[in-house]
Structures are given as structure tokens and as C-alpha cells.
Symmetry: D2
Subunit: 362 residues, 4 copies
């Protein structure tokens, strides 16, 4: 119940605090026979760790994942995968002055109300450092999805006022990766960088929007009532630190649409009369909670990071006001570092539903 | 796994198709000692059933819930509550012509891809008729929340192009209920009605946005990593038929905000130095996934109903094109009937987290 | 958490009290495409209801199951099956004198300690009437297992001092069913009847042991660590009212055995060099928690029913002693009525593990 | 679903193979505020590791548990506890000759049928090495149970033909621990040692029975239908490697008892008219699946270890017969090493039900 496990059949259980000994997890439910791609794990983690150095928090220690179990001769065995990333660059003493302080819009106050005790060092368990565990779990999910040709790709859709039009097709990974902010539109990417440079100079931070598309999904994934595919993707994304909103397909634009515009008419593929598709895809690849074979796409809104470099007045445990001064390390914007986290969570949901769906027919 | 149960400790299991014998459910995990309020169940169901008659589907049979177990001398006993609503107004033969047809943007195609078999009568299990079960479950959740002074209130925030500004305080129930569309702003309510009248005359339908506020929530609810309170609310809302988006607190507006604006500064209540609150509430009452004692608020976007009264071309099972003509009953817009469903799902999430949180401290 | 759901993928959720309006349940996770056999449900329920009339409780009302959902044109659709059995023969007033009484070895006291409130009528939720729900759930599980040739057959292995030797092969259903106590050994069956006649005349009751064999199980079912097949069968059986012990394969006899006797040597089938079996089957068809293709067999011990027809001294709520007189209806022994319950629970476990195992390989 | 997590609210997730890099786990659901007792973990592990050296497998490497998270200033924080035990004494090459061999009554064959791939080194995931993870999990559960005065104590009740009479009171820990086989009866302990010496000299192994008593349990734990306390204890015990049977209270003896003997009459404590107890305790402290405040006691039967030191004929993957020679290390009997595992699993079940029960009343 304590909510450190994600998924029902393909399950990731996570542990670890920002400034404890290590973070890590257990992946349970990875089917046997999957070829393990250690390079993918490393590359996914690198993407999460560094991002575009100018705007990312300067915690730059190398992250070595140690895989402890569940693999034999390069393949998954059906046994759980235990893994570990040691915390090497932490200096807990840096946080001593924050022991009694409730930093604005952090989890300090609510966490302490819940548990009556709080590991204040770097945010403890509520730190975004935990997302490294998600990325490792997501890498294993992707190894499995690869066997089915399913691909999850995310990119930056907006930073502050700089917004990109929605894409209807998967942007080339090459365009995404060449942008320091992982925005496939080169000109917008430049404007985003410019905007963040300015904000950062002011000691401020910015919100952002991440878009994600999942291709190659067969029809039939998702359970029709409470575990709709869109609902589980939504939960996955909203469980990422700082997420504030989720929409798929037409999303919030649907509010202003009419049924006659929004309905996705069915068509038969020209060269394949057995292949039924839809002309438009306002459903975002999900109808009645179940994938229909069209690409799945969604957006996630992230708030600006709370750790700004400005003087703020706040309250300490005993109810007195204090000033907190700029200091510590922080990201100016959640992109680009959150991109691989979004992809990882998407992969975990898809892998889970792929296995869940195996029980749907006799 | 098949996703007909919602919740972890306070659990609602649902069954039934639109045109089968009955729909119903089992509520498991309702603590003992709660006074049962039969009037509340009846009233919540009535709100879901009728709405503003002009725009709601004309299925108007009376819904009698039969409670079958779990109550003794007017109180819950800790045993599960079984309940039942018989389907009386159904005419399955009305749907014979749709047996092989995939209606645009319905669940017909995706469901059939999943299960290989489909009960086509009125949408079968994918019909919004299932939401009556959610409403009954939600009524029981509310009975429990009442003991803690927690209140979930939803209203119409937008219909098509007619949008209301976000509210920062709970609107009076009286203003909501006097509007046929459950929009607490009288003038906007009139304009929404006008808009829907026009749309309906065209045989068309409209999207909408529902807003919801939850007050009286103690700090400490929600689990900090994967089962964040916002994530579970999101999943609950996105599991409602036709939902396309969810946002809480600042929501998608956070994309364009700076940290210096968005941070909710802590303050000490004037008359109560032990009561720590926040000056603003862009967090929407949830920080680090855990309630902080401020009101929780969120929006849900719903697409326009797919069942429009216009001729549409679609595809049948064997891949041939057919025309489907207007006919059958349908709602012009999901509001106002979806309002009690949103409240019910919110209540289920809060009741669940309230019980989950009992295990957080020794 | 409240424990009214059994199973993980093939799930049975149960509700209802002995003397409430109805008992019933929801089966969620039944795959689509299974042919529904209404006769099987009826016949399984009849076996549970009547047993050998001499020793069974005289509650003889006919049990009509109403199936409310999840079936279309005679087949399962993948949607949940809701079902209902109305309580017709109950006379709650018969139990008024027991309102404050804690009957010895019933659940009256412990239940009241747990919930602070108790529906005393006929045992309320703790009544064995709930096992009718298990039997219906088990019938659906058997319909699925039939598709794989898996058969669960239980019989009476001991009543009081009359004990049968363990069987190594499945006894013919015909021999079981012709015995009023469902004991396939005709002579022992007669002695059991004689013993129960005597005990019954004394107003007493007797313990018993039920044996069960499951044939046709493919190798590979069961999860290797905490969800071993034997562990899940054990939990299933120990969840039946009045169960006191469970053993599979060599069971408690293993305590006195040596490894050299107990090891089941592998052999290759004479006519099929690809078919590996074991020479003996002390493992009871389960090795390392996983089925190995040999028949699964186990025993369950049941205590004598607590409702004896003798004067007993007991305690009431306020701590005073009272005498309870003989009265009410009760079974002299749990067999034969518990036999279909054992089979039903076995079928639920096997059906669940069959679906769980679908996720074990890529 | 893959069954590497035990418990519902207090959850232990386990990973690791006998000869992999490490074994370990994650404890999720440990409430905040519990004082961590590192000595207890060490001592429990030592008991599991060494046992009475004469009969235990000579794998004697020191087991250092590294706790990686979830503790702050000596107390639990509510965050998950990750932990790790490195495998230091393993020599995987020792097992090369077993790569294709199905050892009798091991999990080799059934595991391979399930997953199609097998880590043969020392039994891989099916090795009893995994029980060290259970012991660590159990230590944390005991830390929590200590706060409530609940104690789980197990001892050896039988080894081969040497059997102890059932105890009705908790034997002193001192008598248990002074016996090399953890049998509190000194004379029987000597005879057990003698018997095992003889068996061991023959290269053989022996079955055994472990008894366990849990004291200090408040009334009200256990859920009344499918998650009865006895059912969950049974599952826990039957999930331990080599377990073949479980009984609580009167157990299998109940088969031969009459209701008039078996009923536990209620009595009022002499000095405390508010304290209701039972005169006898054939219920084993559990009535209707719920604890009644009396001591809980149960027995577990374990088969003789399969790894005997005698020549055996078996089958290899391609269906040919081979001889396997004595070799490798093995235990002559599961006691005394399994004793702390039984205690650990009992503690996990009680801790879980203690938290589950917090949701039973408003």
C-alpha cells in the first residue's frame, strides 16, 4: 500500500533516498528469454543524468548500475532483477540548515505531516533522484517491448511561453537528440534555450510540457473499465515528480470540439482489406480504454522546479518565519532530464498491459 | 487484472452491461460502524440519471438500487456491500443492426480486437451505464468521508467555447444545483444551454470540462512515490468514459509559469500559530504526492459524445463500408450527468487513501 | 484488504450474510470465449446444499443462481460475471436469543472484537453459507479448466476414527457419488455412516478429512517463491470454514521419511522418450512450488462443527455466564457438503495459476 | 504476479539466486517511527546460517546485510528499506556437471518446464538461500511486533521418528537455544541428534516438524473470509522450501475429535470480569479466521532434503538416464536452520494483519 511498487504483472519496486547509501529496485515479472541490453540501461541513465548541462542540476556523479540477479547467459530467467545505484556525490551535511525548514512547494511539510519524521537531506525519498530507478525499470520494459516492435519516444513540447504545435507523426530521434532540450524543432529549441538562459540568470525556473508517442502497439491493450490504458498512462505520468497534468489524444482541446469533428472515422487500408484503421486519431490510439492499433500520444505538464535561486520567506517546524537563501543545486527546467523518465514510465505501462492482456481470451 | 475493481483498501468491484439483466457491484473495505444514508445513494443516482433533460439521453427508467448485504441495524458491519440495479428500460433488439458495425470513436472495434467477441447491445460493458455503479460506490465513500468532514464537489467549468474562470473557493452547492448544467455562474450557464441547444439541433455533440474541489482533507494523504494522491485522482478521472485529460492545481498553466510565481509560500495562521498553511495554492493541495491540508482541486476534460445524429460512413467486421444513420439515444454533452460520477470517483480515491494512510506510522 | 476477493488474475469477489437478502459474487478475469455450462453450476450447488440428508443441516431451500452479466450468446465475453442467490429459507427471528451470546468455537466473539458490531443472525458473514459463492466461482473455473483437460476431484478420506488409506490414483466419480458421504470405499462409507448416526444421536458432531486429486495439470504452474502452487492451494483450503490443516504429497508423513525413500526419481516414459515423469509422487505433483505434470493431491482436515445439540455454558457480551440449549440446525460432520467446496477452491487456484503462468515467458 | 512479493500492506519483495552476485530485498510498508535493531537482524541471520554445524550444509560464509535506505537517525521513516547480502562463498563452476541434469525432487525439471531456461548453479532462484531474505524481512516485522508485545517462537517438534508431545505453553527460549537442534526437550534433543548422526553416516537425510507459538496477539486480526489468519499463516509456511504440511490448533487431530471435546468454552478471567478467554484452545487462537486473543500455535511438516549423499539414477534434458554421484553440500535435516525462517514468516503475516486490521472500523 505504501506505493513503492509500480505495475501489476510487470512490476517495479523502488527504494532509496537522495542522500542515503544507494537507490535501487527490483523488477518482478520480466518474462524469461529476453536478451539483456546493458548498453541501453547505461544510455537511458546518461540521458536522465546530464541533460543539457547548462540547465541541469550540477550533480554529475557517474551512475553505475549494478545488476544483482535474474540474468543467466545474457538472458532473463523469469527470476526478479535486483539492481543498485550507489550514491557517491552526496554531501548530506550541505543540508543541515534545512533540517527544520519547510521549503516552499517541496514535499517537506506534507511528508512530515504524514510520517512525523523526515529525512531532510536533499529531499530524501521525495527527491527526483528516485527517477533513476524508474529509468532502469523502463529500460527492461523497453527490452521486452522491442520484441514486439513497440517504441516509446518523448520530446519537449513547450518550455515557458515557447510552444510547439502538436505532431501527428513520430519525430526522428535524431532531431530530438541533437537539441540540447530534446525539442525536435530546431528553431524552437533555440528559443527555448534562450528563454531558459534568461530565466536562469534571474535565479528563476520554468514549467514545461513533454509530448510522447508510442508506436507499434497492437490493438487490444488496456482493460475496459477502471484500468483503461489512458488511465494507467495518466497515473504513471502524474506519479513523476512535479507533474501537474496529463492529456491524451485530443486532450483538453476536446472541450471545444464537436462530435462531428472529433469522431475518428474507420477506414480500410488500401492495400490490405483486412487492416482497419482510423482516418484521424483524436482518440490518441485508445478507444474505450483499449488500444486500437493507431499511435498513442499524450502530453504531460510539469511545474517549474521549486528550488529557485532567490531569497524566499518560509516557515520552520515550530511555526516561525525564516528566510531561505539561494544555494544548493537545482534544475532550471525539468526538460530535458525528465524526457527519459516519461519514456520509462510509458514503457512500464505498455509492458504491463501487454502481459495483462495475455489473460483476456481462452 | 481485468480491471473491474477500483481501489486498494476501499475497493469497488463492478459488473454488468448496458442491456444485460442488471448492473451492480461489491464494496469491500468499508469500515464497520458507518451510518448508512439511503437517501444519499438515491439522490446521487438521480443526479447521474436525469441531468438536464434536454441534453441527456432519454433513457429515463427509474433506478432502484437493491442493497443486498453488509448492513445491520442501519450501520455498516465491515462485511462487503453487494448491490444491484436492474436494467428495465432496455430494448436489446434496437441494436440488432449494429451487430457487425464498428461505430466511429466507440469501443466496438478495440473491444472486439481484444476479446474476439462483443456484446454489441448498447455498448455492452463499455457503455457509460457502468458509471451508475461508480456513483453507488461513491455514495458509500462519501458516507465515510462525512465522518471526517471531507467534501467532494464538482461543477461544469466549460462547454464547447463557453469557459469559466478557475475558482479558488468552493462554489455553493445551491448555485451549482440551480443550473441545469451544474455551472455555478448563472450567465455562463445560460450561454452553455444556448450553445447546446444549437449543437443539438444540428445533430451534433460537444466536449466539456468538469472542475472539482475537495475540502476538509487533512495533511498526510497520498503515498509519496507511485501512488501520489494526484496520480490516483488522475487515474480515477481518466477511467471515466470519454475523459481525455486531467490536471490538478496549476495544471497545464504551470507550463508557462516561473518558479517564483508558482511556489506556494508557507504562512502561519494568524489566530493559530500551530496551523501552517500556504499563501497561494498552485499545488492544488498536494505536495510531493501528499495532501498538505489545503483544498484539492482539479479539472477533467471530456470529449464530445461519439453518438451524433448525423449520417456517418464506417466499416463493418468484414472490412466493407456502410452508412450509419442517426438513431438511438445519446447525450449532447457529458455534463451535467458526468458531474456525480466525477464526485464519486474523487470520493473513492479519498476514502481509499484515508484508510491506506492508517498504516503510515507505528 | 478486507479479504473478500480470492485470486489474482482469475478473481472471485464474494458478498452476503447467512440471513441477509442474498449472497452472491463477481467473477473477474474469466477469459472470453468459454462456453457457459449452466447445468454444472446447478449440479455443483446441489451437491453443496443437500449432501446426505441425514447429517446435513436441514436448510433445504432451493438455491437459484441468477447470472446477471458477462455472457453473450452462451459464451463468456471477458466482462465480469455478476451472480446472485437469494436467501429464501431464513428466519432471522430464530436467532434473537443469540444476540449477545458468544457461542463456543464460533466466530461470534472474535468477529465482535474486530468490528465492534455483529450481525448475529445465523452467523452472519461468518456462516458457511458463503461457501455457495465459492462453489459458483469454482464452477466457472472448472469450465475454463475443462478446456485444458484439468480435473479436480475430492472425496471423503476420514470421518472420526474411520480412515481410508491414501489413494495413488483418481477414484472413479461413480464410486464417490454413490456413497452418501462421498467416500469411494463402500465398506468404509458404511462404517462412516454408522459412526455419524451414533454421534448424531448423542447430539454431537465429528471431524473429518477430505482428499483431493487434480489431474491433467501441465508442468509449469505455480510461482517459485512466495506463490508456490502448494502454498496457494493451502491458503485456499485453509480459508474454508472449519479447516484446521492442509498437506500435499507426502504431507505430515514426510516428517518420518528419509530422503532416499522420499526422492521421486525421474523416468522417461516407455513409449515416449520426450515425456519425462517421476516413478513415485511424494512431491504431490509440485516441485519447487511448480507443477511437474504428475497428479496433484492433498488432504484437508476439518474440525467437528461447533453447533452441537448439547447444553453448553458460555459467556455473553457483558461477561456473564449463560447456558445455551440445543436448537437450530447444524451439520453432524462437514462431509459430504464440503466436498464441492474443496473442489471449487482447487479449481479457482488452478485457473488463476494457469492465467498467471501466461506471463512467464516472452 | 511472479510471486516474489509477500504480504499486502507490510510487503517483502525478494530477489537473488544462490550463486549470483547478491540476494536482497525491499521491505515496503514498514510504518515510520520504529527503532531499528541491527543486532536482531544479525542474530536472526546467524541462526539461519549455521544451525547445529554437524547437520547443516557447510556453506559458512559470513552474511553481512547492508541496509541501503529507509532509516534516519536510527528509526524507520516510512520509506522502503532496501537491503543486500552479497554471495561470497559461491563457486558456480562446482555445478557445471549439473547443467543438463534434473536432480530428483529438486526444482530443476519443473522450473525449466516453466521458463525454458534455468540457472542451474546451486539451484539458482529455487535455492533455500532465498530464505535469508525472509529472515531479514522477518526481523523488521519483529521490530514492529515488539511494540505491541507480540512474540513468535518456533522450535523443533519432531525429527524422523523422534516426536515431541504438543506444548500448550511457550517453551523458554533458553531451552530451545541450548539444544543444537532447537528442541526444548533435552532428552528428545539428544535422541534427535543421535538419529541424525546415524542418517548422515548413511548419506541420507530426514524429514522434520517445526512447531511455532505466537503470544501477545490482540483479538481481531485476520480477515473473515478468504484472508483468514490461519489461511495466511498456512500460505506463508507452505511457501518455505520443502514444506509439505501445515496445521493450526487441533490440526489433523481434529479429524478424530467430537464437537463436545473440541469446542473451546468461553470463560471470564477471575480477576478481570472484562477479560473473556477460552478454557481450552483447540482453535489455536483463531476463530472464524480472526484471532481471539489466545496464543496462536501451529505445526509445519518439512520433507527430508533431496540432496542425499548416495548414487541416484536420473534423467537429463534430452531424455537419457545418468547417474549422479554424492557431492556438493547439503543439510541432513531442515532443522535447526529452518526455525528462524518459520519465525520470520510468522512475523511477516502478523505484522501485515496488524496493519490491515487498522482499516476495519471507522
Amino acid at each position: 500500500m505504501a506505493g513503492n511498487t509500480f505495475g501489476k504483472v510487470f512490476k517495479l519496486t523502488s527504494f532509496g533516498e537522495s542522500h542515503g547509501t544507494a537507490i535501487g529496485g527490483v523488477i518482478d515479472g520480466l518474462p524469461s528469454g529476453i536478451t539483456i541490453d546493458h548498453e541501453m540501461i547505461k544510455s537511458d541513465l546518461d540521458h536522465r543524468r546530464t541533460g543539457y548541462s547548462g540547465f541541469a542540476s550540477p550533480r554529475m556523479e557517474k551512475e553505475d548500475v549494478e545488476i544483482l540477479s535474474g540474468i543467466y547467459e545474457g538472458k532473463s530467467t523469469g527470476a526478479p532483477i535486483g539492481f543498485l545505484i550507489r550514491n557517491t556525490g552526496h554531501r548530506p551535511a550541505d543540508y543541515d540548515h534545512l533540517k527544520d525548514v519547510y521549503r516552499p512547494s517541496h514535499a517537506d511539510f506534507s511528508w512530515e505531516q504524514k510520517y512525523g519524521i523526515r529525512d531532510h537531506r536533499g529531499g530524501g525519498r521525495s527527491s527526483a533522484r528516485e527517477t533513476a530507478v524508474r529509468v532502469v525499470g523502463g529500460s527492461f520494459a523497453k527490452m521486452m517491448l522491442n520484441e514486439y516492435g513497440i517504441l516509446c519516444v518523448a520530446w519537449t513540447g513547450a518550455v515557458g511561453p515557447v510552444e510547439m504545435e502538436p505532431l501527428t507523426e513520430l519525430p526522428g530521434k535524431i532531431f530530438i537528440e541533437k537539441s540540447p532540450l530534446m525539442c525536435p524543432d530546431e528553431e524552437l529549441s533555440d528559443r527555448m534555450v534562450e528563454f531558459l538562459d534568461k530565466i536562469k540568470a534571474e535565479g528563476d525556473t520554468s514549467g514545461c510540457r513533454v509530448s510522447c508517442m508510442i508506436t507499434g502497439v497492437m490493438a487490444g491493450l488496456g482493460e475496459p473499465v477502471y484500468d483503461k490504458l489512458g488511465a494507467d498512462l495518466g497515473k504513471a505520468m502524474l506519479s513523476i515528480n512535479a507533474a501537474r497534468g496529463f492529456e491524451f489524444g485530443s486532450g483538453f482541446d476536446a472541450v471545444r470540439m464537436k462530435g462531428s469533428e472529433h469522431n475518428d472515422l474507420f477506414i480500410v487500408e488500401k492495400d490490405n482489406p483486412l487492416k482497419i484503421r482510423t482516418k484521424t486519431n483524436f482518440s490518441g490510439g485508445i478507444q474505450g480504454g483499449i488500444s486500437n492499433g493507431e499511435p498513442i500520444y499524450f502530453n504531460v505538464a510539469f511545474k517549474p522546479p521549486s528550488g529557485i535561486q532567490q531569497v524566499q520567506t518560509t516557515v520552520i517546524r515550530k511555526g516561525e518565519y525564516v528566510e531561505i537563501k539561494p544555494g544548493g543545486r537545482n534544475d532550471t527546467c525539468l526538460v530535458p532530464r525528465v524526457i527519459p523518465v516519461v519514456e520509462a514510465m510509458a514503457a512500464l505501462v505498455l509492458a504491463d498491459h501487454l502481459l495483462i492482456n495475455r489473460a483476456s481470451r481462452i
